[in-house]
């Protein structure tokens, strides 16, 4: 599969033509935008899961700029979206004392375990010693799943039995990571719906165990979101953020037909930056987030 960049780059050039073609018929001769043009624009944004509030807001902003051509609309829209999506934060913290500890959280089935394998793969390629902690002690065979990935990417695994206390796994893992001088420790957690208060408490407990081992841990807490998720992703980000402060988001499953437009609303309203994109089921299918490419893909119709 060609990597995301080349795909996104080709879509970048396709974007202009696609948008222009789409609007061509709607453009009146005097250059002013017809109501249908705005409706089309609304449809593009809404069907990308950007959500009604942010869509309305974007359209009002662009209307206020008194655009007179399709090119203007496109440029204005893309610029505004990029402005929202551009996070100034580094993908991986630049100054930290090893091990780098990454706690990974999210609802059921979004792609946490697979994304962890992908991250581990990146650090392994970088020559780091990586430990994975199987804190999903709830789902059947979750430990086995992570163990398969650990083998594949050449990471070490810390695991207890199914049904055991995830915080105890986290404790052993962080002790091992420090003792073995590992470069990176990534903790997999069980999927949980953000409304289950007791399960969210459990995350806090895991976090506390890490913080007790060393106050600066974990340096990263990443929320995995499924790109096919609609407006509920806002609630997910908000409630996970309340339980454990998030440092970033991994947006998985972007290789389907979903655009992941909810990321725009999340950035705009909650300010949690997207750091990584999941683009497949293999361990190499992880791309770093780049605002320009993301916005282009968002505005391009997938075939």
């Amino acid at each position: 599969m060609p990597d995301l960049w080349s795909r996104l780059n080709s879509s970048l050039s396709k974007t202009r033509t696609a948008l222009i073609e789409r609007f061509q018929t709607l453009l009146p001769r005097d250059g002013r935008m017809k109501e249908e043009t705005w409706e089309e624009l609304e449809e593009i944004l809404l069907t990308a899961d950007v959500g009604p509030t942010v869509t309305e807001d974007l359209i009002q902003t662009i209307k206020a700029e008194r655009v007179s051509s399709l090119d203007d609309i496109r440029t204005a829209l893309a610029a505004r979206l990029e402005e929202i999506m551009r996070a100034e934060l580094p993908r991986v913290p630049t100054h930290f004392t090893p091990p780098l500890v990454i706690l990974v959280v999210g609802v059921n089935g979004v792609g946490k375990t697979t994304s962890i394998a992908k991250l581990a793969r990146k650090f392994r390629q970088d020559g780091q010693r990586v430990i994975l902690a199987a804190c999903d002690t709830f789902r059947a065979a979750a430990v086995e799943q992570l163990s398969v990935w650990a083998n594949r990417v050449g990471a070490e695994l810390i695991a207890h039995q199914e049904g055991s206390d995830p915080a105890a796994v986290a404790y052993d893992a962080v002790q091992a990571a420090i003792a073995r001088r590992a470069g990176v420790l990534i903790l997999d957690t069980a999927g949980r719906l953000q409304t289950k208060t007791n399960l969210m408490q459990e995350l806090l407990k895991i976090r506390r165990v890490l913080g007790k081992a060393r106050p600066d841990l974990p340096q990263e807490t990443l929320l995995v979101l499924d790109a096919t998720t609609g407006q509920n992703a806002l609630s997910q980000t908000r409630l996970f953020q309340e339980a454990v402060p998030l440092t970033g988001i991994i947006l998985a499953k972007l290789d389907g037909t979903a655009k992941g437009g909810i990321a725009v609303a999340i950035q705009k309203e909650l300010g949690v930056p997207i750091k990584w994109l999941g683009t497949g089921e293999g361990f190499d299918d992880l791309e770093s987030f780049e605002a320009g490419a993301f916005v282009s893909a968002l505005l391009t119709e997938k075939e």
Partner: protein
Amino acid sequence: MLESLADKIQAALKRLRTKGKLSEADIKAALRQVRLALLEADVNFRVVKNFIGQVQEKAVGQEVLSSLTPAQQVVKIVQEELISLLGGGTSQLERSQDALNIYMIVGLQGAGKTTTAAKLARLLAKEGRRPLLVAADIYRPAAIEQLQILGEKIQTPVFAMGKQNPVAISRAAAEKARREGYDTVLIDTAGRLHIDDDMMTELIEIKAAVQPTETLLVLDALTGQDAVNAAGEFEAKLGLTGCILTKLDGDARGGAALSVRAVTGVPIKLIGVGESIEALQTFHPERLATRILGMGDVLTLIEKAQETIDADKARDLEQRLRRAEFTLDDFKEQLEEVRKLGPVDQLLGHLPGFGKIKKMPGLKIDEQELVKVGAIISSMTKEERLSPGIIDRRRKQRIAKGSGTTVQDINRLLRQFTDMKKMLKQFKRLEKKGQVPPLWGPLPY
């Protein structure tokens, strides 16, 4: 599950309720809110467009029935249209008495297929069937082990052939089932993208090989606008007979259900409402629509109650829940009954008005919290339970000591109790005014 959508539609229509007559402009204003709410609930853009158009058409120029206020009339139309959009009636799973029933379970990655397969096996086993689970996901690491562990939990055999071809696995499983007298086969297939041609072909081949009774799409209730693309492709390429909606136990508004039904015509047959193996229920469009309109889902609660406790107790619980004059004793007893029914947040979500209670600050629906509440009430004297007003600081300290809690815990409980009483009083009022029809009538036992 759909509290927020219900709240919004209700808020939008509240204005109509208070006005005597309806103008076209009023309807438009209300429907704008409905449109927004539906979009926020992830109902597909085009489905929303059609829906609003239909309601508008029906509402404008319709004679207001003498028995209804104009607002009630609009609510009625919105409700009717929602029900029809959701498919009208309940769709049962196809079951043949004499032939082997094969259910093929398909869907995107992470939708919840494996868990749903096991839940369905348990449900059918409870009906007296002999199911065989089939591990046909040879791709995801430990997917086979996951199904095997679940099978063990529900004491249902799992057919696995390692990483051999899923078509061959499915065929062999069907043969084994016929040979060994199973009456039901559930094939757990791997998650896949609807645009992955090779993987879709695999499904087509499995389907051709085993001729399933039903091909069921498992759809995540959290899905956004893309639901219609995915479901549409599965339907077009493979042909579906039903849909199972999962993860409805959170705060997902589940607009995907409306979209998929409206766009593909495939009926939703079951819903997943929790991680436990029992959390699979029949889908009732009218209940979902009623719920969307903010009238709760008492029927689901009663049904669940009946499954767990006897009908008498259920009716009793129902009555207590609806009674405004309850005491702390009732409160405790009620909590204990409710606790037997399963995760509390799930249950309360079914009750009218409780969607709002859940959002009240200070009232966290939490199992551990309930254990505490029980302990606190047990440590009160009889008078204190009957008239909580007399509980002063000294009494609070005594109760805290007795129950191993803190004064803050007791304050919180008393506040919750007052809130709940207020809520129930409001309900009684609404009920008297006849504003909570039609579910709020006599309950069928």
